[in-house]
Symmetry: C2
Subunit: 340 residues, 2 copies
DNA sequence: TTGTAAGCGTTATCAA
DNA sequence: TTGATAACGCTTACAA
């Protein structure tokens, strides 16, 4: 391993001088020595020891991404939304010259560990951490960026989207296309800020058009036989004609279940998703969905993080990104028969 | 920040004693002191400083996953195969008590940095690194696990699958179902060991049945208008009836292009994919594909890594996992008309 | 069973 | 513009 000292000896200077050069503290070192040292370091294949750096400077150029580890069969990175976000984050963080660790955490002690153990410069939280936020802030003074949080704690920096508006748009689109009996498919809403707001936007908009969602039109993610439920809904004298779901990946499940149950999308059942994953444009029929810009979210998360690292006194801010309707082919217009 | 020294003072012992306790070097410390120290550490919220540890012990409980950064529009983690592998790897590595960094790398110097800078205990390479392997091994003495490598360097530890066999199975399945004119869709094969072997297995099997793949039946990933190409192939006096592709995600593209071109899968065109991503069972028709066990691959990669960390003299081994045919609904039997 | 001393590679601080 | 020295928090090696 090549150290500062090795280079210093070869160059006939002190290791401090080398340190200054390696850190680009030019202006403090003469042009000539600087050049010479840089060259020697290059030749010897010097790579700075980040551990030593972190120890001596009490901070590191290291960011940790904290993901919630639901359970062992449900890996966060198997979720396309999450992997897409993390991928973009990784790219951005690299561009800023930082390194990235990923930490799956199950409980509070694991979060603490991941924050303190490596003297990380900052952290990005991916997933639901609303309950821990208060304590997290008291216990740590490092910049933390949350995503999609609806925590009541005002002093956190968060990047999210307008979930309520997304639900609104979906409802409005169903209404505009002549759907009067619609359903919802998603996780039980109350334990998740994001889902709850999407659902609220959806339900409220329907209600103001005089339409209510009866309990039997709520399909839980854990439902045993989705196809059978769909069949039940889509039959009878007043069949459900449209279903809104809280994530595109759930829409894919609906497509599959519908196919096997002999229900045609969108002729028998229209579907609106949420996220606009790249797959959504590829499936048949292409999925009409509420689009959010995941990459932009990651970009902003990284930007906020850097800002907070450089200026620790930056006030907390909550950024809400827009959503938009990606109009494709999974909703049937029941007025003129067209498919969007 | 709570340090060993803080705990030591509170407990009235030396920091070495605390260190021993924290590292579970029980047997070297009396039961009583051990208990007491553990309790104090707990109360004070002690978290070991990994940087200091790494520095002092010249090794860290840190693994780096090295991913190839193709270009900025093509993030490795957007690839479902990669994110699935990495997700499982993250889980496994956590279970072993190690931390995980991810490094996107573009050139050799970036690999070197990611290996040396943090004194990592080991590295897992995801993607193609065949050219660098030789130099990598000379420059570094840490355990390195490669995946899907067809490097000619014999002394590397690798986990891969039987790509050739996968191609073989696809060809055989087409033949068994009465397809005589088939095509291939994938990246230009020569620059990628995995693709090349899949293709070879495919082509060789066809050839021994007296069938050859004319150049116009090779579709490049970069083709401008996939739908038009498909249309061209599927028309004429001797239309292509089946297409094999090197990854499920490419099969999805085929589905989409076929749909828009008015080509029915599998009635007009049968499709066989590779990987068996979770989406493949969900799309319509469900995709017949060559399945590989991505999670198992990650599990084995982690296992090999740990073995190499604990016993540095472990000889190199190349593990080849089986593939199998996931028979679903995207291949039509041209003999009896059934769809698999 | 416990402690002392030295040192890991770097940076902060102060002095020259 | 440069260098000496003392940390940073921990572990290794050895001593008691």
């Amino acid at each position: 391993m090549v150290t500062l000292k090795d280079i210093a000896e070869k160059a006939g200077v002190s290791s401090m001088t080398v340190s200054r050069v390696m850190n680009g503290k030019t202006g403090a070192v003469s042009q000539a020595t600087s050049e010479r040292i840089r060259k020697i370091a290059q030749e010897m294949g010097y790579v700075p020891n980040s551990s030593a750096r972190a120890l001596a400077s009490r901070s590191s150029r290291l960011i940790t991404a904290i993901l919630q580890e639901y359970d062992e069969d449900n890996n966060p990175l198997e979720d396309r939304y999450t992997s897409c976000f993390l991928g973009e984050l990784a790219l951005q963080i690299k561009q800023e010259g930082y390194d990235l660790m990923i930490h799956y955490v199950k409980d509070y002690s694991e979060i603490t560990y991941s924050l303190k153990s490596w003297n990380v410069a900052g952290a990005v939280f991916i997933g639901m951490f609303d309950e821990s936020i208060q304590k997290l802030q008291e216990d740590n003074r490092i910049p933390m960026i949350f995503t999609d949080s609806y925590s009541s704690v005002r002093s956190i920096t968060n990047v999210g989207i307008d979930d309520y508006r997304g639900g609104e748009m979906a409802a409005k689109y169903f209404l505009d296309n002549g759907h009067r009996n619609v359903a919802f498919y998603g996780p039980e809403a109350l334990d998740n800020g994001v889902v709850m707001h999407r659902l609220q936007g959806f339900v409220t908009t329907l209600r103001s058009a005089g339409i209510s969602l009866p309990p039997e039109n709520f399909l839980d993610l854990g439902v045993k036989d989705l196809g059978a439920e769909l069949k039940r809904m889509c039959s009878g004298s007043d069949p459900v004609t449209g279903i809104f779901t809280t994530a595109d990946k759930c829409a894919y499940q609906i497509y599959s279940a519908a196919y096997h149950a002999g229900i045609r999308v969108p002729d028998d059942l229209s579907v609106i998703g949420f996220d606009d994953l790249d797959m959504s444009a590829l499936i048949t029929p292409p999925l009409t969905t509420i689009r959010q810009d995941i990459k932009k979210k990651a970009e902003i998360a990284c930007g906020l993080l850097m800002k907070n690292i450089k200026e620790p006194e930056t006030p907390a801010e909550n950024i809400v990104l827009r959503v938009e309707l990606a109009e494709r082919g999974s909703v049937k217009n029941r007025i003129n028969g067209e498919k969007h």
